[in-house]
Structures are given as C-alpha cells and as structure tokens.
Amino acid sequence: MGKTQSMNFVKEVSQVLGGEGVNLCMQCGTCTASCPSAHIWEYTPSEIIAMVRAEMRDEVLSSSSMWCCLSCYSCTVRCPRDVEPTNLFHALESLAVKHGYKPKNTSTPVMYKNFVKSIKKNGRVSEFQMMMGYYMSTNPFAALGMISVAWNLLSHGRMPLSAKKIKGKKDLDKIIKKLNEVRGAQ
C-alpha cells in the first residue's frame, strides 16, 4: 500500500458522489444496529466507515462489506449525523470498481455488471438476460437451483426471454460517450 496514496483516502472518498458525509460520522453504531444484513458484512457498516477514516484503503476497497448493502436506507433515515451511509457505501463500491478491486466472497459486483450490461445493450433491463449473464459468469450450475423460481415466473408470463430495445438506443450511446469525453477533459 503506497503511503502517499493511502494518506488521502478519506479525501478521495469525500470527493466521490455520495461519499461527502464520511467526515461527519461519530461512530455511534446506529447504522450497524439498523442494518438487516449487518450479520453477513465482513466488517459492519460503522466499522467500514471507521476503517475509511483510519486510511485503510486496501482493506476497505478489497472488502465484500459494502457489497452486502441492500439499499434499504434504514441507516440513512436514522443516522444522527446525516452521513447518508447508504450513498457512502455505494460510493465505496464505485471506487473499488474504478480501481479494479475484486472482492472475495461476494458475486454482487458480477450481478451489477450484468445488470448495467443489459441496460447498455437495449436501454432497458431484461431480467432474464441479466440473470443468464450472471450465472454464466459465476456458476452455471447454481442456475439449477433457480429452476423452480424461473418456472414460476415463466409459466405466469412474468419472464419474457427476449429483450425490448428502445428507439433512442443510439441517443443513449451518444449521451454516455459525450459524458466520458467531458469527464476525460476535466
């Protein structure tokens, strides 16, 4: 871990969209106590925030912790310091992706990537294609365990196999391309 890089981690986080509140945390633990998934986090919600503040860049970004956030926003409405922990955890996820970290013990990043891939392909999400992409890139055999659920949805007309493409797909491509040009120039 490069020292100059690690010493700026809190600042780096506070400059990412959603990470602005990191310095406000007073470690009261309300977020952890409110979190429905805290028991599966590698480090609990308040711990991971403390680790950011302690400049533990590598440990934080390689952790599966924030990927366990369900976006239920319970912590956000209860946090007495308006840290907005939900947005903060998403900011940590986006930093981890940006810097190429691949957290162990969670396949959520792969699921998210397939979700976004589906949007970029058609402009809308095809739940079926997203799931297929996810199982193909994680564990195709795990898809077997999904047969009952998939059949439930298919047989009730709730899982179309083909995807709908929006008319403005080219516009969407242009918009994303332009954003990346603007960002690159800055």
Binding site: V16, L17, Y73, V77, Y134, N152, K174, I175
Partner: protein, 289 residues
C-alpha cells in the same frame, strides 16, 4: 380528470407485469390519465449507481429531460425508479456543476434538463390527488372481512422524499381500509425483503422473507398487499423456497395494492393481471370477484 406522465419501469414488462396492468386499469376508473413516457429507458436502479454514479445520473436524466417536455408530473408505481430518479434530480439540484456536466452529455441527443419536473410515486398521487375518500366512493365490492398485512417495504418511504413516515408508514393502511378490508397489525411493514440481492445473496434474502411471511401469518393475515414490484416478486416467487428452507407451509397470496383496489372497484381478474400471481389469490378473493 388529472393527467400524468407515466413511467412504468423495466419490471413492468416482466416480473411485475401485474402491477402495470392493474395500475392502468384502476387509473381509468379513478380518473387519472396516465400517458406513458415516450421511449423511456431504464432508470439505472441501484446497480448502475454502485458502479458509476455519474453515468447513472446521466441515464436517469434522459428520462427526466424527456418527461419535462410534457409539462406534467412524472408518476411511477416502482419504488426503485422513484428513488433513483429523485436521487438524480436532487444531486443535480444541489450540485450545479454536475448538472452542467449532465446537460453537456444530454446535448449529444439534443436534450436539456432544466430541473422543473416533479417525480412522484403512484401511491402518493393516489393519496394526495385522488384521496381515499374518492377511492371509497368508487368501491362496488367492499372487501369486508378480508384480513390484509400492509407491506410498504423500503424505497417507497426511505430515504425521505417527503411522503409518509419512513419507519411507520400509514398510507397503505389507509388505502386498505378505504376499500373495506381489515388491516392486521404488521410490525414488519417497512422491513427489507432483500430486493435484488435475492440473486447473489439468496440465503440472506430467504431469511428476511421468512420473517416477513411469518409476521403476516402470525397476525392472522390472509394475504399481503404491497405497492412495490420487487417486494411482490420476492415474496410471491420465492415463497416456495422459503417453505422448503424453513419447513413452513406459508400460502399467502401477495397482491399489488393496485390489484386490491381494482377488485374493490369491481374490475375482473383478467383486467388486474391476477392470473400472473404465483401464489394463487383465487380462494381469498373468491367472495369479491
């Protein structure tokens, strides 16, 4: 007749098709004109923002810019679309530089986001514009005796976008009461079902769903009612898996609130997409259909 721009969301074309069908059907009866947003794209939802927040705001902003042209409020029945579109709107309102960047990107498709469009949740529009009084007035088949667990979920009320209490919401209870049904006590009413984590973290989400189903059953509910497409999908399509894992025999139909209203105002099963429900609601609704 009040008019809105309607944003169905991607799930309305697949797992939550019953929500879309029943929303359109009751809107007609209740005097809401829903004009579908022309060529809308996915709002981006949580996954896009987790990978690249700025890019996710740009794709949400395409929808906002398109909606702004209509001059009407944007209404969506999907809690995730509601939060995502509102988050994008608020980020741009609070950070003028970001808005500038987004508009530079949108200009590639000759679009501009000014910041005037309101993003609203269907259930909020029902409560504020239609009101429970008018809903009651349209009821043809009061759902007398039907015991309902009102399940609001997370993103309908959290984070705070000014509608209902984030930890003890009451709008859904009021609607259930307005159509003549009985609300059972439901302490889990806005606890999380696990959302899309059901794919990558199935064990965790089955545990959360077990608690939600157990709470409803213990309180004597005959069905669960929710406004949220993800909550409905999880509790309905995975109920069998919960039963297998926890050795339980839950058989609780999970209705969209729009389906419940639809039955009460005299619409038929086909008009409300009730055959799309996996845990069949036929038995509990037989008296009213």
């Amino acid at each position: 007749m009040k008019s809105y721009t309607y944003f169905p969301g991607c799930s309305s074309e697949a797992t939550a098709v019953g929500l879309d069908i029943s929303t359109r059907a009751i809107a007609e009866v209740l005097g809401m004109e829903l004009k579908e947003l022309e060529d809308w794209n996915c709002c981006g939802s949580t996954p896009y923002g987790s990978l690249d927040e700025t890019e996710s705001i740009v794709i949400a902003a395409r929808n906002l810019a398109l909606a702004e042209k209509t001059g009407l409020d944007l209404v969506t029945p999907c809690s995730s679309c509601f939060v995502t579109l509102n988050k994008a709107r608020i980020h741009m309102m609070e950070k003028p530089q970001l808005k500038e960047k987004v508009n530079a990107a949108l200009s590639a498709a000759n679009l501009e986001y000014k910041g005037t469009v309101k993003v609203r949740l269907l259930i909020e529009a029902l409560m504020s514009d239609i009101t429970t009084k008018q809903i009651s007035g349209k009821v043809k088949k009061p759902l007398k005796g039907l015991k309902v667990a009102p399940y609001t979920g997370c993103q309908e009320v959290r984070p705070r976008f000014g509608f209902d209490h984030p930890e003890n919401p009451v709008a859904l209870d009021d609607i259930v009461t307005a159509v003549g049904a009985d609300v059972v006590p439901y302490p889990s009413k806005c606890k999380c079902c696990g959302g899309s984590a059901v794919i990558a973290e199935e064990g965790l989400t089955l545990e959360l769903m077990y608690r939600l189903l157990d709470d409803a059953a213990k309180n004597g509910a005959e069905c669960i009612v929710t406004p949220c497409p993800l909550c409905q999908m999880n509790l309905d399509a995975y109920q069998g898996k919960v039963n297998a894992k926890y050795n339980t025999k839950f058989n609780l139909p999970v209705l969209f609130v729009t389906q419940l209203i639809g039955v009460a105002v005299g619409l038929k099963a086909d008009q409300l997409g009730l055959k799309k429900n996996i845990v069949s609601p036929n038995k509990v609704l037989a008296k009213y259909l």
